[in-house]
Symmetry: C2
Subunit: 209 residues, 2 copies
DNA sequence: TCACCAACTGACCCATGGTCATATTTTGTC
DNA sequence: GACAAAATATGACCATGGGTCAGTTGGTGA
């Protein structure tokens, strides 16, 4: 009797459906202006039911953020496993992929930037928070691994600290600059893409063997 | 009769007092958990009075953020005007100063990271938003100028794009990584300081003449 | 002394996150 | 099929807090 298993699957499905609905609502109205009633309606559930699956509005948001990280990780994994590319070539492609991600998954990219805002209001013990941290860690490891591959195939200098550099890059990727301050046209004519690419160029020069 | 002038001064003073109170409350309770009633009480005013000086809670927050930028700018101006330092030396000191700022003005530093959150809910026409953008622009110009000084005194490569590099650095400084994701002990043993310093090291290698 | 006006007050409005007693559906048992 | 127990869902309700506004206060200038 796979009743329990089926129920578990259904519960998982409901949860995913709620996140789907939340994405549509949050991405459309913005986190602050979207209400839990909106989400409930979109999910074809009552508000109370939402709270059977998520502790709070913030946690629901973290679930979306986790998805964003998941998408990005999958993209990076593809790069990591690609044959016929040297380490430094993969490293170069990182910037490109990230820009593509920001362009093609703009809403998800933006969700990453509100990590702080939502994270603070979620208990650290939750499953969602844990997955989020795990995804994040994975992404850093992938970047780090790409650098290390470059050191093995001798296209990246041996003395580069792969772990530190990967963290620095990640910080740069998710810096608030690209999407907010920079997008104030008043401030600059450069677009975020420009800046990220230029920054990468300099780093590549610094680490190339 | 300087009555009008005096009144203007007093109004300005009130405004500053409110921001003082708001800092004490927001920095203590956190933006989300602090209420306008708290701020009003701390400022020894009624809630209604706050709204004579600031359009919204978010705008009050932007006023704090503007102060943060102002503090940081003053620090950077000192560096810019320092004699007896070459361009590359000043550039090197930028990282140090920023880390010091983050350590000694942690609350103000954190306020910078919530730019997006508050910015979205403020009309672009407001005086506070304008000053914020201006301070931001100034800081970018200072960083850019430091790089250009290095190019003049030949300690920094001629072909470095000062404007783009300054924006990339600013993005890195205000990335969400340092204070949030990185501070999850689970993820890494490095502290933000480490990462920023290492990143700078690489860049310095790349741009040094 | 008085009219005026800017500064200020705080009771009030209302939107919304979150709760909970109740209702509905599903499941297991006989 | 009947029925109790458990799981799931409902939506009226509550508390909170951002924001408003009719009314008060007190300084100013005539």
């Amino acid at each position: 009797m796979g009743v329990i298993e089926r129920k578990e699957r259904e519960k998982e499905l409901r949860s995913e459906n709620i996140i789907d609905a939340a994405e549509r609502i949050f991405f459309n109205k913005g986190f602050e202006h979207a209400t839990m009633n909106d989400v409930a309606e979109e999910a074809e559930l009552s508000k109370g039911a939402l709270y059977l699956y998520f502790h709070s509005k913030n946690e629901l948001c973290m679930a979306i953020l986790q998805r964003s990280l998941h998408i990005l990780r999958k993209i990076f994994v593809l790069l990591l496993n690609e044959k016929n590319l040297t380490g430094i070539e993969k490293f170069t492609k990182l910037a490109e992929l990230f820009i593509t991600f920001a362009k093609e998954h703009t809403n998800h990219y933006n969700s990453l930037l509100s990590y702080r805002e939502h994270r603070e209001n979620c208990p650290a013990t939750g499953k969602i928070i844990k997955s989020t941290i795990e995804e994040n860690q994975n992404i850093n490891n992938i970047i780090s691994d790409i650098i290390k591959m470059g050191q093995i195939d001798k296209t990246i200098k041996k003395n580069i600290d792969a772990d530190r550099l990967s963290l620095a890059l990640w910080g740069n990727f998710t810096g608030i600059m690209p999407s907010s301050i920079l997008s104030e046209k008043v401030i600059t004519n450069f677009n975020p893409e420009d800046i990220i690419k230029y920054h990468f160029e300099l780093l590549i020069n610094a680490i190339r063997n």
